[in-house]
């Protein structure tokens, strides 16, 4: 249950066990054992040289060793796993939360290609851990301002007409450490509360037709079956537009940490609203004013007021190669690569600067360019061996231009926590180190 691998934290073993007060001693001991066993794994992961140096016996003109023996037979891994040489491509948890039950882990964007996030690397954000739900015992209740309150099994939902869509999911707290100073070392830490999957499920509007919602219903409470009873109010317009009840991601049933067996997905909206382990939808006239939409997920502005119901994730982009923690070994040709996305629709253009925002060049956008989905951009770049500052700037189909940090701070101050979508700067030093800077 406890993940001990934290961003920017090569030796997780320095942490004391994260048991909470009042937890039973048995649990505490179990966690200590987990901690001890995971420490070995952390050391292996922390060592960048875990892939051993190439041996000449496997290089031309010699015949490599793996051509002279039989490999692993089929179903050696009934559910396949990545090559052992990719062992450091993993989620890493934040190091700022007191426990790992209410915490988050980041997607390793620096190690991914294309736009789809593999299921095992989709970022996690739980408020009370991942519940262990038997799908046979899971129910979705839909009630409130409806003609007919209904209860659905997962089997019922899968029988309804389903669609599949590729959408990003981003926590509105993505980048929260970066408001005041560049804190996280890697793009995993600065932008890793971001993933993109093919999601399969039933349009929420279909379910609303089944229960017959009443005209005075303007908001829907979505409630999860975790110990946080995660709950958010969803405007009916979004519910009828493109909201989905999701049971599968990237071709397989949802992973437990992504809401198995049922979650909501509100494309382009802050991730918290896509309630996982969904068990209840209640239609009402007004927002329900849950804890998460009042004391959390509201944006404190510099003058002391707080914005509430700031749902959409505004256009954003980030260079994932080269990015913080990478090391350029020699001058010459490189290919800058990154991701862009907008909660308001499609990305129209991405510009890249290599001189700290003085001059910009348009990057190439890779197909497909989908609405409310990650887009991969690439641009050829010749590193002359001198210092450089790399930036990317997204423009979406509404004409919205991703702002600089200074522009955001001038309007909102630095206390908002949520919805930070500033241009990211990566500084390249003369010896090829890549650092997170506010340049």
């Amino acid at each position: 249950m406890l993940r001990r691998i934290r961003v920017g934290d090569p030796s997780a073993a320095s942490h004391s066990p994260g048991a909470i007060p009042g937890t039973r001693r048995r649990d505490f001991l179990r966690q200590s054992a987990l901690l001890a066993s995971s420490a070995l794994g952390v050391r292996a992961i922390a060592a960048p040289g875990s892939v051993s140096a190439p041996r000449s016996e496997n290089l031309p003109p010699n015949t490599p060793r793996w051509m002279k023996v039989q490999g692993e037979p089929v179903v050696s891994a009934p559910y396949g796993v990545p090559s052992r040489y990719e062992a450091d491509v993993i989620r890493r948890a934040t190091n700022i939360t007191p426990t790992l039950w209410s915490s988050w882990s980041f997607t390793p964007l620096q190690d991914l290609h294309g736009i789809i996030t593999p299921n095992g690397l989709v970022f996690e954000r739980h408020h009370a851990g991942t519940p262990d739900i038997n799908p046979e015992e899971h129910r979705l209740m839909v009630h409130g301002l409806v003609s007919q309150p209904l209860i659905f099994t997962i089997e019922d939902l899968v029988r309804l007409p389903s669609i599949s869509r590729i959408h990003f999911l981003e926590c509105s707290g993505n980048g929260l450490t970066e408001w005041k100073a560049p804190k996280e070392k890697t793009v995993q830490g600065t932008h890793g509360l971001l993933s993109c999957c093919e999601w399969t499920g039933v349009p929420l509007s279909t379910i609303l037709d089944e229960v017959g919602f009443k005209p005075q219903a303007k908001w829907i409470l979505a409630e999860g079956a975790d110990a946080a009873a995660m709950s958010r109010s969803i405007p009916i317009e979004k519910a009828l537009d493109d909201a989905l009840l999701i049971y599968a991601q990237n071709g397989e049933m949802l992973r437990p940490e992504q809401g198995y067996p049922l979650r909501l997905l509100l494309p382009g909206f802050e991730g918290n609203m896509s309630v996982k382990w969904l068990r209840r939808l209640k239609l009402g006239e007004k927002p329900f004013m849950t804890r998460e939409e009042t004391s959390k997920y509201t944006d404190l502005i510099g003058n002391g007021t707080a914005r509430q119901f700031t749902f959409v994730m505004e256009a954003k982009s980030v260079i994932t190669f080269p990015s913080g923690g990478h090391q350029l070994k020699k001058r010459g040709p490189y290919r800058i690569s990154g991701l862009a996305w907008s909660g308001r629709g499609r990305i129209r253009r991405v510009d890249v600067s290599t001189d700290g925002g003085r001059n910009w060049r348009e990057a190439r956008l890779e197909e497909p360019i989908l609405t409310k989905a990650l887009v991969r951009f690439r641009l050829a770049w010749n590193w002359d061996g001198g210092p450089a500052v790399l930036q990317s700037r997204a423009i979406d189909e509404t004409g919205y231009v991703q702002p600089t940090r200074d522009q955001i701070v001038a309007v909102r101050g630095t206390n908002s926590v949520y919805h930070y979508n500033a241009i990211q700067s990566w500084q390249i030093t003369q010896n090829g180190e890549v650092n997170n800077v506010h340049a």
Partner: protein, 198 residues
Amino acid sequence: MFTRDRAIAKAILLLVAGSASLCWAAEKYGLGRVATPQEIAGWDIDVTPDGAGLPKGSGNVALGKTVYDSQCGGCHGTNGEGAAWDGKAIDRLVGGQGTLHTAAPVKTVGSYWPYATTLFSYIYATMPFQAPQSLSPDEVYAVTAYILYLNGIVGKDAVMNAKILPKTAMPNRPNFISPDPRPDVKSVACEKDCPGQR
């Protein structure tokens, strides 16, 4: 509102049980089954600012202190001032008034939360962290009263119940703004010889 909904649900239940169910199936997919009032009552745990959803019961500040000391103080501090766990702060519940516009805002129940009903609702559904949904309605009313008392929002003799709680005004309520004013940050895509972007 709650009882009215139940009455409607009952009426529809009777309709569906009769011949109308055939029409229903013809117009819709007809999947899922009717949720009974008892099933809904068991799961309908939310509480809204108008007090809908609040259970029967009551509790005072004195009982609240007893509940708090045994169930809450370990994480939230003896007097709601927060505690550190693994070197990181756990949510502070008390204080912070007057800090929201400063460089170091302290968001607590007293300084930030806009509705007292949310406090009850959240505790009732999710606390204490080590045993969610283990407190009785009386205990939740009491500990709600105690946290409001620690914040100077109610007096030390205060009692909380389904009538008083929705009428308890929270000081920061007027400072919440909606609808969303974004896009609020306007930028232009300068391309050549720009001033440099920070």
